[in-house]
């Protein structure tokens, strides 16, 4: 098997697994309990909190563990709307956010909030000037992702953070894809809230966090207990949190080496596909790009068909086609960067890890070449293109 879907989830690293297992077996105490067994869990959670905080230059007490990135996004947006709703009812975000942000914004619109969804350019970049221009006297929140999950484009977060701080507007970033992959410093980048998820950095699933800058008046999201400084009730997912801590410490330790290796593999894969597969387009920014992200549209074919064929050859990948989204529309991200529907349907995301090898990528290129060509032979769009040679494809 060749696993190229690390943006979906990653394998738990051996040191992560080793660190969390005792908290499922012998150290099962509730961190809220007074006796020593509980204290051991409490210490473990607090150690993990420090490790997670350190990775983004935050203080430990600014980290609130959640059940994952989606919960953190929901919390950040809904609680800000609630806390600042008297001050204003306008929110700024972008068209390429994860659904955890977009659908929460739709929900808030139904509660009477107004949301501006900023456009991005063809590479998926948000223009900080557009953020500035969208600000109104009643704007209470700006939420822009650190890096996009589909096309890997890294957004100018520090600039947007600077604009938000200068205007006194809360700035949230969904850093689920960027956290642990590229350097983030919440103080330097003037980030007020940040969402992260453990399973994207070789940690366990079902655990994440929301960073909330000290002094920010954000209410509780889950009520019912004093956990997480009264802000997130529920007995802590101790093994998950411990694993998250280990994964964060590991990510910080290996970031430079890991990202260097991934960039090399990524650029090799991009170069081979661009050279050897006709009628394709690299989606996302060429340089301002997550180290492990490769995303192509192969014109005249549909992504799910390609995914199944690659799966038959043992290759795990992902697509932005409608058929993989469970709806009839292809990825909103690919449409936002200006792709035509049929180009968006033909997208393939290959997200690497530092463990992939050039040999694996060579096998993937061969499989992609073969199957794209086979699906094109089957495609009425390709037939029309070959016969007419005048379709307005970007080729």
């Amino acid at each position: 098997m060749i696993y190229l879907d690390n943006a979906a989830t990653t394998r738990v690293a051996p040191e992560v697994l080793e660190s969390l297992l005792p908290y499922m077996a012998e150290n099962y105490g509730n961190p809220s309990s007074i006796y020593q067994l509980g204290a051991a869990s409490r210490r473990a959670v607090s150690g993990a909190r420090e490790a997670v905080a350190e990775l983004i230059g935050a203080d430990a007490e600014e980290i609130y563990f959640t059940a994952g990135g989606s919960e953190a996004d929901n919390w950040a947006l809904k609680a800000t709307a609630e806390a600042y709703g008297n001050k204003g009812r306008h929110i700024i975000t972008t068209k390429i956010e994860h659904h955890a942000v977009l659908h929460t914004c739709r929900y808030l619109e139904r509660q009477g909030f107004e949301v501006t969804y900023l456009d991005v350019d063809r590479d998926g970049l948000v223009d900080p000037d557009a953020v500035r221009a969208a600000i109104r006297p009643d704007t209470i929140l700006i939420s822009v992702m650190s890096a996009n999950n589909e096309i890997g484009t890294i957004e100018p977060i520090a600039e947007i953070g600077g604009i938000a701080r200068e205007r006194g507007i809360v700035f949230h970033t969904d850093a689920v894809q960027a956290f642990g992959q590229i350097p983030i410093d919440v103080k330097e980048m003037k980030i007020d809230m940040l969402s992260a998820s453990a399973h994207k950095l070789n940690g366990p699933k079902g655990v994440g966090c929301l960073y909330i800058r000290k002094g920010l008046k954000i209410g509780s999201f889950i009520h019912g207990g004093a956990q997480e400084r009264n802000r997130r009730a529920g007995t802590e997912n101790v093994p998950g949190i411990v694993g998250f801590g280990t994964a964060a410490a590991r990510a910080g330790r290996i970031m430079e080496e890991k990202s260097g290796r991934e960039r090399e593999l990524r650029d090799y894969l991009i170069a081979r596909i661009e050279k050897e597969v006709p009628y394709c387009r690299l989606n996302g920014h060429r340089e301002k790009r997550l180290p492990g992200n490769v995303n192509f549209s192969f014109f005249f074919i549909e992504g799910e068909s390609l995914l199944i064929r690659l799966d038959m050859e043992g290759i795990c990948a992902s697509s932005g086609s409608a058929c993989t989204s469970g709806s009839l529309d292809p990825s909103h991200v690919l449409l936002a960067i200006g792709l035509k529907h049929e180009e968006a349907h033909g997208s393939l995301r290959l997200s690497l890890s530092e463990e992939n090898t050039k040999e694996e990528l060579d096998a993937v290129v061969e499989a992609v070449k073969k199957n794209v060509s086979l699906l094109r032979d089957m495609s009425p769009l390709y037939e029309d293109f070959v016969k007419n040679k005048k379709e307005a494809y970007h080729v």
């Binding site: 799910e304 068909s305 058929c323 009839l328 009425p380």
Partner: protein, 145 residues
């Protein structure tokens, strides 16, 4: 998520290709929604479908339903082909996931569109055949949040 039959027809599609100077060609679907199906029919003077080919841009279910639909109409009369419903295509494939049911509608529509083209070329009327809807997704409900 797909049945073995669907996977079989997807990995080894039957009757994939084109027919030159076909008696009837029908293309339905919409690139916007991610599937386009084209059916080529070769119909003899007795109204028997001697050969049928397809080309499809679409997901695994779209390819498999195209393939199965061609199998179901091959060697049949025009009237029999008209009675091959999306239900029949789905059953022959041992079912489809709910979100993929529209793919089987597309196969039925593509055959009807090819038969319509044949009738027009021949200047005949096929009883019970309605003009093709080229875009079957027009009435799909909007996504809910």
């Amino acid at each position: 998520m797909y049945s073995e039959k669907v996977m079989d027809h997807f990995s080894n599609p039957r009757n994939m290709g084109e027919i030159e100077n076909a008696s009837g060609v029908g293309t339905v679907g919409n690139a916007k929604c991610g599937d386009i199906m084209r059916i080529f029919l070769d119909i003899d003077d007795d109204g028997i479908i001697r050969d049928v080919k397809f080309k499809t841009f679409g997901c695994g279910a779209a390819v498999a339903t195209s393939s199965m639909a061609t199998e179901l109409v091959k060697g049949k009369t025009v009237q029999e082909a008209l009675n091959v419903t999306n239900q029949a295509v789905m059953e022959a494939l041992d079912g489809l996931p709910p979100v993929k049911v529209h793919c089987s509608l597309l196969a039925e529509e593509a055959i009807h569109a090819a038969l319509w083209d044949y009738a027009e070329k021949k200047g005949i009327v096929i009883e019970g055949l309605k003009p093709p809807k080229h875009d079957i997704h027009e009435e799909e409900p909007a996504e809910e949040y």
